[in-house]
Each structure stands twice: as C-alpha cells, then as structure tokens.
C-alpha cells in the first residue's frame, strides 16, 4: 500500500479532511487569542504589538505558508468529496430522511464550508491583502490593522456579513470538531462524550469571540 493509496481512498480522503481540519482549529485558537487583544482597553496598543510580531517575524510568516497549504487542501478536498458524494445517488428519494436521522448542519458541511470560503475572500481582501501588499509580500512595513478594523467595521453591512460568516463557521465546527477526531479513530466511550461537549463549547466560544469583534468596533466598545 503506497502513501498515495493510503490518502486517496475514501477513508484516506477523510483523514486529509480530519488532519487539516484539526490544524485549522488550532489556527482559529491562535487567531482568536491574538485578536482578543483589541479588548485590552489600550486603544489597540497590545493588539498592534501582536499583529506586528505575526507580520514581521519570519517564524509566523513561514507558518503562514503552512496555513495556506492546509486551508487549500481542506477546501479542495472538501469540495471534491462533496461533489463526488452527490454523484453516488443519481435518482433521489421522493421523501427525504431529513432531520430525523441526523442534524442539518452535519449534512450541510459543503454548503457551510462554501459560505465560510466566500466570507474568507472578503476577509482576506479587507485585512490580509492590503497589509501584505503594503509589505511587498515580504517583511516590509505593515499598515495599522487596528485602525483598519475600526474603518471596515464602521459599515453596517460589513458587520452583518462578518457575523453571518462567524455563524457559518460555528455550525461547521459544531459537526467538524467531533467528526475530525472520529475520523482520526477516537472511539473510546469516555472520549466520545468529552469530544461532543468540548466540540460544542469550542464552536460556541469561537463564534461568539469572532462575532463580537466587528460588533465591538461598530458599537464603539473598543
């Protein structure tokens, strides 16, 4: 069994989704933690220091490449699986099983993921792209991201789109968190219960944290 065969079977593709999913979950923790500095009450001083480190030090900048690679794999593999799975039933049912057998968001990972991807395009366009282009995509001078957040989040529709993006992420995580660990083979009863509760707690916390950022700027809390 070659490595290629291991990762391209139906279970292997799920392993790729699980591994990259957990990697992206770890990224979310770092991202949320760093951005939470906007609430330090120092008019963005601590946040700017953190943002400066992430943008100007070569260690996080190299890790950034890994992040894009992981994200790219997760998105491409996810979309391919979604389309492939849809093709496995050419004649559909007249009456669907629906929510009786499974949660709606567990069946809508492709849709939720696509919504998150669309949100990400806007998000990168707002912050990552202007900052990196200002740096010449190397280690050049950054823009003031705190001021940029203030500017972008003064527009109501932007705030609404961000909150909707966070809700999509929350539901994606509500299924994705536990599913990723199950895909990696966790089946012990004691961990199953733990995974479910930690998964929901993580999804709600991340959604609230990220959603409160644009809301805080819009309402002038920071």
């Amino acid at each position: 069994m070659t490595w290629k065969q291991v990762f391209t079977s139906s279970v292997g593709k799920k392993l790729v989704m699980g591994f990259t999913g957990i990697f992206l979950i770890l990224f979310l923790i770092v991202h949320a933690g760093l951005n939470a500095c906007i609430w330090a009450g120092d008019n963005g001083e601590m946040f700017t220091k953190g943002a400066h480190f992430m943008g100007s030090n070569w260690v996080p900048r190299i890790l950034e490449l890994g992040l894009f690679a992981g994200l790219f794999l997760h998105v491409i593999q996810g979309l391919m699986l979604e389309f492939a799975n849809r093709r496995k039933r050419s004649v559909g049912y007249a009456v669907s099983y629906g929510n009786e057998g499974s949660k709606w968001y567990s069946r809508s990972m492709g849709l939720l993921g696509t919504l998150i991807l669309l949100f990400l395009v806007l998000h990168l366009y707002h912050f990552w792209l202007p900052n990196r282009s200002n740096q010449g995509f190397l280690l050049g001078e950054e823009i003031n991201l705190f001021e940029k957040m203030k500017l972008e989040f003064s527009v109501l529709w932007v705030v609404i789109v961000y909150v909707l993006g966070c809700i999509s992420l929350g539901y994606h995580l509500a299924h994705g968190f536990q599913s990723a660990f199950r895909t990696l083979g966790i089946h012990n009863k004691r961990y199953n219960t733990l995974l479910t509760s930690v998964g929901y707690a993580f999804s709600i916390t991340i959604t609230l944290l990220f959603a409160m950022m644009p809301v805080s700027f819009y309402l002038g809390w920071v």
């Binding site: 069994m1 065969q5 291991v6 990762f7 079977s9 139906s10 279970v11 292997g12 593709k13 799920k14 392993l15 699986l81 492939a84 799975n85 093709r87 496995k88 039933r89 050419s90 004649v91 559909g92 049912y93 007249a94 009456v95 669907s96 099983y97 629906g98 009786e100 057998g101 499974s102 949660k103 567990s106 069946r107 990972m109 299924h175 536990q178 599913s179 199950r182 895909t183 990696l184 083979g185 966790i186 089946h187 009863k189 199953n192």
Partner: protein, 254 residues
C-alpha cells in the same frame, strides 16, 4: 393494543429493470388488519394485482423474522419504516392509521442498482466481505473455544458489531450513499477478537479498496446510518475502522 382494520393509499415505485426509468404508481388497499406485517400487506396487494391481471410488485424478503437482512423498503422517508431498530418485515400495520398515504421506494444508491420495482442488487456487499471479511483457519481439529482468553467487554462489543445483517439500510439512509457502517461492523467484529489479529492490516485495506471500487460514497459522520440501523450498530465502529485504517496505512510494510 386494540385490533383495527384500515384502508391505505400506497405510492409505490415501479421500475421494469435497471435500465428503464421508473415511476410512482398509486394503489389502494382495503381492510388491512393492524396485526399484519408490512410485507403481508404487500402480499395482499400483490394477490389483488395478480387477480386483476397486473404485474405484481417485486420486493426482497426471506426469513420475515428480522434476522436475514433481505427486506429493504424505504417507507415514508426512512429505511425499514417508522419504527426504531426494526426491519421492514417486522414493521406491523399498527404503525399506520386508516386513510394514511404510504410512500414506498427502493434503496437508492448507484452501488445498489434496482433489479425490479423495490428489489435492488446488494451483491456489492458480498464482494466487500469477500475482500477480507473473514479469518483464515488452518485445517485440523478446531481449537477449544476457551483456549484463547477474550475480555468480556471485547466479546460483547464484537458480538454487537457482528449483529449486522447486511441489509444496506445504512447506505440507503446516508446522504453520501456510504457503506461505512456496514464495513465498520464487518471490520470491527474481527478486529476486536484475537482471531482477527493476524490479517487485520490487509483486511481493512482490501475491504476499503473494494468498497470504493463498488461506488459507495465516503462517510461524513452524520449519524443517519446509526439512527436507521435495524440492529442498532453503533457509529463508534466507524471510528474504530478509521483507527484500523490509520494503523494499517502508516505501519504496513508493503
């Protein structure tokens, strides 16, 4: 429960063969006893159709005791009908009320092509089993069953997985037409026992490869399979299968 008779409207999928395009046909059955099984109600309908010179409805059935896994009707949006942990043959008409309309469809998955009407070809499952769902035993005297100590919990978990009757309801219920609950049950019941250990790596690899070849979708852990399984096979088996696969994929010598 009190016995009652009912009249029902049936919306049944009719399809000549795997190549033809099927369609729903409406039938009316009258004076159906609440104590009949769902398949007996179909027998009554078929008698009526034969009497009227029409083609009777083809459906799979064998033991009618809920243990063989032959019956396979998708009733009102759920494989094996509205009851939990139940096969179509053990679904009784008291699950319905007078005047109900019941929609009956075959299992729908490209890996399970329709043979005729409500009967689908599930030989894909047989080929998955042939790919590794067994243990190789040398000829000679059978070893004493008690010679190999097995922890009670493992034996119980293995037996629970071995309950799978291979009916295919998991595939029918899954939005991806995935056969993972079936496969995981077949891998788990051997993986949990020492007798399954020598072939564990090749077993999981070969069976997954065969499943993919048969055209089933991949698992997204929605849990619809577990919810519909007449033998209550746990989705935990899928995680165990993943672990077996991961272990084999990363440590296999070949």
């Amino acid at each position: 429960m009190e016995h009652y008779n009912m009249n029902l409207n049936l919306k049944v999928w009719r399809q000549k063969n795997c190549k033809s395009k099927g369609e729903f046909k409406l039938y009316r059955v009258e004076n159906i006893s609440s104590e009949m099984s769902f398949l007996e109600m179909f027998d009554v309908l078929n008698e009526q159709l034969i009497h009227d010179g029409e083609d009777p409805i083809t459906f799979d059935h064998d033991c009618r005791e809920g243990i063989c896994g032959a019956c396979s009707m998708y009733i009102n949006g759920k494989p094996h009908g509205p009851w939990q942990a139940n096969t179509t043959c053990q679904l009784h008409m008291r699950a319905f009320n007078d005047g109900d309309t019941v929609v009956v469809e075959p299992w729908r998955a490209d890996a399970f092509p329709v043979i005729k009407d409500l009967m689908v070809d599930r030989s894909a499952f047989d080929r998955i089993i042939q790919a590794g769902g067994y243990i190789s035993v040398n000829t000679g005297n059978a070893v004493d069953g008690n010679a190999i100590p097995i922890p009670k919990d493992d034996a119980d978990a293995s037996f629970a997985a071995a309950m799978c009757i291979g009916c295919g309801a998991c595939v029918a219920a899954c939005k991806n037409s995935s056969a993972m609950l079936f496969l995981s049950a077949k891998v788990s019941h051997l993986a949990l026992l020492p007798q399954g250990a020598p072939e564990r790596k090749s077993r999981v690899m070969n069976m997954v490869a065969q499943m993919d070849k048969e055209g089933f979708g991949s698992c997204t852990n929605t849990g619809a399979c577990e919810a519909t399984c007449p033998k209550e096979i746990s989705i935990t088996n899928i995680a165990r299968l993943n672990k077996e696969y991961l272990g084999a994929g990363f440590t296999s010598d070949k």
